[in-house]
């Protein structure tokens, strides 16, 4: 008694039911059901947030993005920014965990290349933030345009020194991509305008920077300017400069914004500091990882930008939030 049209109708109804179920379930899976939550591993240069407020700020951005996009975030990194070997083994271990994507701030421009290649070989989307590597194994690079940051330092310095004055550049980790780029930014902008001494490397250690700067100031009486290319280096140099009592004659330009650096800026020891936007770096890094997981097209490089901060603008409302973390006392 059941003819063909009835069978067809029933078959269509069943097919529609199945299709709708599949679509619905699929949509639910995509809409970040707990079981389908994506895992992203984020590896910093260091997780010693107390001595590196920059990374604390990156972490805030990463955590915020994780909440906004419903992504499970795991943050790792070496205790010491200079411990490149430790970071390499952390990256290798993270790859073994087969995350949905990886966000990495490379501690070394060359030594992290094999680890990045391995991630790429495993098909893990790779986002670099802050510091990059010499090969193009990362999918996206997000960070301050370091060369541009260096140029801003130079521009600030040129407001305080006269042409032909003697200045010094204090860098931090030799071989780090950001250090290289910042320095060339400074050098290119100062070239032909002032005399530049040989670059010093503090290994991102405030104490080492202090002794290097103290020696430099003591031995170079006609020194008129110092560019310190990261936070610990700026702190060390500022301490040496304050103790030397020559803060009025030597203009110190810093980089990044720990509270100590800002305190030096407030007191005029550090004239200007070029600050990055670490929160945005962390946030955009995770957003890019999410986009890569969902196969969206992205630019190869995203510049998070930098700002020249001096005592004049440090308490302006739009800068306060970036410079002073909430409930972050001394």
């Amino acid at each position: 008694m059941i003819n063909r049209s009835v069978l067809l109708l029933l078959a269509a109804a069943v097919a529609v039911a199945v299709a709708l179920t599949v679509v619905y379930r699929g949509a639910r899976l995509l809409s970040a059901a707990p079981g389908a939550q994506k895992k992203v591993v984020v590896i910093f240069k260091t997780i010693d947030y107390a001595s590196n407020p920059f990374w604390a700020n990156v972490r805030d951005g990463v955590v915020s993005a994780g909440q906004d996009f419903g992504i499970a975030i795991s943050i790792r990194g070496p205790a010491l920014e200079t411990d490149v070997q430790d970071q390499i083994s952390i990256v290798d271990a993270a790859i073994q965990g087969n995350p949905d994507a990886m966000v990495l701030a490379a501690a070394d421009y060359n030594l992290l290349v094999p680890a990045a290649k391995e991630a790429k070989r495993r098909g893990i989307p790779l986002v670099f933030i802050d510091s990059f590597i010499s090969s193009d194994d990362g999918d996206v690079r997000i960070g301050t345009d370091s060369y541009e940051g260096g140029q801003k330092c130079a521009a600030a310095l040129l407001r305080y020194v006269k042409p032909g004055d003697l200045v010094a550049i204090m860098s931090y980790v030799k071989g780090s991509s950001t250090a290289i780029d910042r320095e060339s930014g400074v050098r290119d902008a100062l070239d032909g305008k002032v005399k530049i001494l040989e670059t010093l490397y503090s290994n991102a250690d405030a104490d080492m920077a202090y002794s290097q700067a103290a020696r430099l100031i003591a031995r170079t009486p006609d020194l008129r300017g110092i560019v310190a290319l990261n936070d610990p280096t700026a702190r060390g140099a500022a301490r040496a400069l304050e103790e030397s009592g020559k803060a009025r004659s030597i203009a110190l330009i810093g980089f990044d914004n720990s509270l100590l650096v800002l305190h030096y800026v407030e007191r005029g020891i550090i004239r200007d500091t070029v600050v990055q936007k670490p929160f945005n770096m962390g946030y955009l890094g995770v957003e890019a990882a999410r986009d890569l997981i969902e196969h969206r097209k992205l630019a190869r490089f995203i510049n998070t930008g930098s700002i020249d901060i001096s005592v004049a603008n440090m308490f302006q409302p739009e800068n306060q939030k970036m410079l002073f973390p909430v409930s972050e006392g001394p």
């Binding site: 008694m1 049209s5 109708l9 029933l10 639910r28 809409s31 915020s64 407030e266 929160f279 306060q320």
Partner: protein, 583 residues
């Protein structure tokens, strides 16, 4: 015409109806569900936000209480009004007053007293006043923003009055009443720990990723969980729209997501507490319901189709079986019982069909019987003609004539007999022309006349227009025979038989009258009965005539008798006029 099966029609109708009903129901419930979800969200969020606003106002009230207390404190007034009274003793007295307040309330970060001439007292955590801050300038800035006798509340900001401390606070400032110079000489600043406000806002959960932020009167952000993103242009809020609306609910879309702003403004602080709910999260519950509804709909649809199939098969199966029965009847099989397995109109229809078929079957049977009877009667009428007595008598008469040497009469009689039989057997047709029937009767009477001589005479008078009409054959002669044997034969004296025929409308009336002995009423009654019931005493011929007329023409036609003793008998035959078609 395209024949469509009942089943298809029903399934189409059912499925269509169900789909339409479900669509209507689905759309309506979707619409109302969303409306209710939004209304509920608006109501609950409004409640939450209002509550948060009251809590914040309470904090502000508390800060203002402290500021008021400080403004009316004699030590503070002395410190501000009289620089010469600014002694360490006075300072420590004031500090300890404030410190005791701060000790019980951790939410108060600091209390400052700042004078127009650049002196200050700080009751705070940590060190000395920040040497880089120009206190005269700071007083001037704060004094410019203050309203006499009213507290003024700042947005969240970093306070740098204390050396190497950068706490996030919300400041409430009250200036002292103006002195003789018309200017206020000092002010009280109470700093509320920003963490308190941030914590209150963070604690509010609005769906999965909803949040609360606070704006001040001019639209600057007092608190926002993603303030850095907003300053970095990675996120935006429709602040202008919120301020323009001045509280209440606002549905809009930001960064590609549908959101609901719920804002409450505070008269105390001028702040606007704004909740952000994401509609897609709000509707997550509705998606669950939509799914269940969809599945149920499909189930109902499948059920409806199944029901339609069942119902239609219940309807069409008996109809189908009835149709098959009728097809059998069409092909000639009447010997079936039409019954269907149903308890509805189809059953009645089948029963009516059954009755009709049975009637047809009975009619056919009756027809067959009648045909059979006709043949039998014809045979009998034939037999009647060959009445053996008539034949013997006639043959006896012929023998006598021959013996008496009356050869001519013998020849006449023999040829009459021959003609009589020739007509009687005549080709087996049912009807013959009236003319032939008359000839037949005449022949018979001529033969009888040979026997009865002068005792029998006859007259035949048919109107001429009857001669060419058709008549059922051999219906007059048996009545003539009857008249002779029962009327004339026993009559003393000559007998006359008169046969007339005439048209009476559509009927033909033939009368056979004799002047014989007649019949008593009993005899007449017996004869009339004999027309109905076969009776051996009666002439087989008369009854045969009656039956044949009834069969051919119906009961309204037939033979009737009228008679009384001594007055003769009249037999009347009434038959319809049959137009002449002498074949």
């Amino acid at each position: 015409m395209k024949i469509r099966r009942i089943q298809d029609t029903l399934i189409r109708a059912f499925a269509g109806l169900i789909v339409m009903a479900l669509l209507l129901l689905g759309t309506l419930s979707y619409y109302y569900l969303h409306k209710i979800l939004i209304q509920n969200a608006e109501a609950t969020t409004m409640q939450l936000v209002s509550q948060l606003n009251r809590i914040i106002e309470n904090y502000i009230h508390y800060m203002d209480d402290i500021a008021l207390m400080a403004v009316t404190n004699d030590d503070v007034r002395t410190f501000i009004a009289n620089p010469r009274a600014d002694t360490p003793r006075l300072r420590s007295a004031i500090e300890s007053t404030f410190e005791s307040l701060r000790a019980v309330r951790r939410d108060i970060d600091s209390v400052f007293v700042i004078t127009r001439d650049g002196r200050a007292i700080a009751a705070t955590t940590g060190g000395a006043l920040n040497p880089t801050v120009d206190l005269r300038k700071r007083f001037a800035e704060l004094d410019a923003g203050a309203v006499p006798d009213r507290p003024s509340v700042s947005s969240a900001h970093v306070e740098n009055l204390v050396d190497y401390r950068y706490p996030w606070v919300i400041s409430l400032v009250r200036t002292l009443p103006a002195g003789p110079s018309g200017q206020s000489l000092g002010l009280i600043q109470v700093d509320l720990n920003y963490d308190i406000i941030a914590g209150l806002c963070k604690d509010i959960q609005l769906g999965k990723s909803g949040y609360v932020f606070i704006l001040n009167r001019t639209g600057e952000i007092v608190y926002h969980p993603r303030q850095q993103l907003i300053y970095g242009n990675l996120k935006s809020e429709k602040i202008a729209d919120i301020l323009a609306q001045g509280g209440g609910n606002l549905k809009t879309s930001v960064d590609g997501r549908e959101i609901l702003y719920t804002a409450v403004s505070s008269r105390e602080t001028g702040w606007e507490v704004v909740a952000v709910s994401y509609l897609d999260e709000l509707f997550r519950a509705s998606r669950e319901a939509e799914y269940v509804f969809l599945m149920l709909s499909l189930l109902v649809l499948v059920g409806a189709v199944a029901a339609a199939m069942l119902i239609s098969s219940n309807i069409s199966r008996p109809i189908e079986s009835l149709r098959r029965s009728m097809q059998a009847v069409e092909s000639g099989n009447f010997d079936i019982d039409i019954t269907v397995n149903a308890r509805n109109e189809v059953y009645q229809l089948a029963r009516d069909c059954d009755i009709a078929v049975k009637k047809v079957r009975d009619l056919i049977e009756q027809n067959r019987l009648e045909q059979e009877l006709k043949r039998k009667l014809e045979l009998r009428s034939l037999q009647a003609q060959i009445n053996p007595h008539f034949l013997y008598n006639t043959l006896d008469s012929i023998i006598w004539m021959i013996e008496l040497g009356e050869a001519d009469r013998a020849i006449d009689m023999t040829s009459s007999l021959a003609r009589f039989f020739r007509i009687g057997i005549s080709r087996g047709e049912e009807t013959i022309s009236v003319r032939t029937e008359i000839e037949y009767v005449q022949t018979y009477l001529e033969i009888q006349k040979q026997r009865y001589k002068d005792k029998l005479s006859y007259e035949i008078a048919f109107s001429p227009d009857l001669h060419d009409l058709q008549i059922l054959k051999l219906i007059i002669q048996p009545l003539v025979e009857n008249a002779i044997y029962h009327g004339i034969k026993n009559l003393e004296g000559p007998g006359l038989i008169r046969i007339t025929g005439e048209k009476d409308g559509e009927s033909m009336v033939i009368r056979i009258s004799d002047n014989g002995v007649g019949m008593s009423p009993d005899q007449l009654a017996a004869l009339r009965d004999g027309l109905i019931e076969p009776r051996p005493s009666n002439g087989v011929g008369v009854r045969n005539v009656q039956e044949r007329i009834h069969i051919y023409f119906g009961l309204q036609y037939g033979v009737s008798f009228e008679s009384s003793p001594g007055a003769g008998t009249v037999a009347t035959i009434r038959i319809p006029v049959i137009a002449g078609s002498p074949t």
